[in-house]
């Protein structure tokens, strides 16, 4: 691990993804430095979601190499890597049980065994996201799309990753709640200088608002 404070958290070199007989993206270079907000933009079909999934190690990378703090994710071990670089699905998956059980679920995993569930912080985050009191005891599979996105964001923030990969994280929210999500992510980022976030959004004005730099994906064909 480098000692320079500006070492990239995530770094991709000549990344390529080949699917269905064509390159979705190829020769893709990017760097995500600590404290940075990176936006991924591009028309639909250019593989924005595929890029986030590949960064999270959920999909393969067919070409090039990815490094987290200078190391290949496979060298770190995928579960440990993913505990640090957390991907949020556009339509989040809710686990069986109520909302609180969903928020607690990661703490039952080996990767987070050393930590205990911060109940107080969970409550604070839910309310910061404008969620109603008592949501914790509601069945997770009965939540609306927006509520699921809020719960999924809280679930991810509670395990204190260093990189958040947000895939249309505000797509099902009204304008007021979008602002709450943006403010919450921003506050999380400012809490620790060794954090960074990648936003994928179809709304360019949102990307211009919440990120400092854009990675443009083009129709590679």
């Amino acid at each position: 691990m480098g000692n320079r404070s500006n070492t990239a958290l995530l770094e991709g070199r000549r990344l390529g993804r080949h699917l269905g007989g064509r390159w979705i993206w190829r020769g893709l270079d990017f760097e995500l430095r600590a404290g940075e907000r990176l936006g991924v933009a591009g028309p639909s079909g250019t593989g924005k979601t595929l890029l986030l999934r590949a960064l999270a190690g959920l999909d393969p990378i067919d070409e090039g190499e990815l490094r987290y703090r200078g190391k290949a994710p496979t060298a770190i071990g995928m579960p440990r890597y993913r505990a640090q670089v957390v991907y949020l699905h556009q339509r989040p998956g809710m686990l069986p049980g109520d909302v609180e059980q969903n928020l607690r679920a990661p703490f039952a995993l080996k990767a987070h065994a050393a930590r205990s569930y911060p109940a107080e912080r969970a409550r604070a985050l839910l309310s910061a996201l404008g969620q109603r009191e008592g949501l914790g005891s509601e069945a997770a599979d009965g939540l609306s799309g927006g509520e699921s996105q809020a719960v999924a964001l809280v679930r991810a923030l509670l395990i204190e990753p260093s990189v958040l990969l947000l895939d249309e994280a505000t797509a099902s929210l009204d304008a007021e709640r979008v602002a709450l999500v943006e403010a919450t992510v921003d506050a999380w980022l400012r809490d620790d200088p060794n954090r960074a976030v990648v936003w994928v959004s179809h709304a360019r004005e949102q990307l211009l608002r919440v990120t400092e730099r854009l990675l443009e994906l083009e129709d590679g064909g």
Partner: protein, 265 residues
């Protein structure tokens, strides 16, 4: 061995077949479309069983292990292929995985039971091995089929949940655990159900057969208990084996769910 039961000859078989005629008549009269498949099934059943009678007569006269074990292996292979054919999806190596699961579960359990419980000498004595193995295989096949099908469907329908867990740092085993549990539960449903009502709702076929053949009901019941334990053990073992093998095939070493390896049948 002298027959202490009433022998059934060709005329009696003809009379039994007459039981089906009424069904054909009703089906044809009401255009139910049952007649053709019923007729084919009836003919197949008769031909297959008469042939198997001949084959078994020959097999029971064998005294060397090689042909008996070869026959057992053929039976197990057919079961392994049939188990896969009843599922709706495929992945590379699925037939081998099924074969390994069926053969290891059925042979291990049947072998232990013959050598250690029933204490047949020699353990490959075909009069015991072939019928017992047949019963174990028939049930193991069902368990493997149900468990495998459920596991593949579950991963597909619960993909987002599984990947949500992976994305939060779960190992592939932690992420798949719910699907594994659910698949094994499904695989064991028929076995557990039939054990629950055995003797009350159903009189098991093997026990009934022994009683018809003049065996003491107490003896027949003890045989039945042994075979039910064999069936339950082999079904559970086979289902665990196939689900674990499918788990290995559908998750890779980097803890990724590989639904791209799953195709339709």
């Amino acid at each position: 061995m002298k027959a202490s039961y009433i022998v059934i000859g060709a005329p009696e078989l003809g009379l039994a077949a007459l039981l089906m005629v009424a069904n054909f008549a009703i089906s044809i009269a009401l255009r139910l479309g049952l007649a053709k498949s019923l007729a084919i099934a009836s003919v197949r059943m008769v031909v297959q069983l008469l042939l198997v009678g001949l084959v078994l007569g020959w097999v029971f006269s064998l005294s060397s292990p090689a042909p008996v074990l070869a026959l057992a292996l053929v039976m197990a292979s057919v079961a392994g292929v049939a188990a896969v054919n009843r599922t709706r999806r495929r992945f590379a190596g699925i037939y081998w995985n099924s074969l390994v699961s069926v053969v290891s579960a059925a042979f291990l359990v049947t072998g232990l039971a013959l050598a250690g419980i029933v204490r047949v000498r020699p353990p490959y004595e075909p009069q015991y091995l072939i019928p017992l193995l047949g019963m174990v295989l028939g049930n193991t096949l069902n368990g493997i089929s149900l468990g495998l099908d459920r596991f593949m469907e579950q991963l597909d329908s619960e993909r987002v949940r599984v990947e949500t867990l992976l994305a939060l740092g779960a190992t592939r085993w932690e992420a798949a655990h719910g699907a594994v549990q659910e698949s094994l539960r499904t695989a064991m449903i028929p076995t557990v159900n039939s054990m629950m009502v055995m003797g009350i709702v159903s009189l098991p076929g093997m026990m009934t057969g022994q009683i018809l053949a003049g065996a003491d009901p107490g003896d027949a019941v003890r045989y039945q208990i042994v075979i039910v334990f064999m069936i339950a053990a082999a079904t559970a073992l086979g289902a665990i084996a196939i689900v674990l093998l499918a788990f290995r095939a559908l998750f890779d070493a980097h803890h990724r769910l590989r639904l791209d390896r799953l195709g339709s049948a």
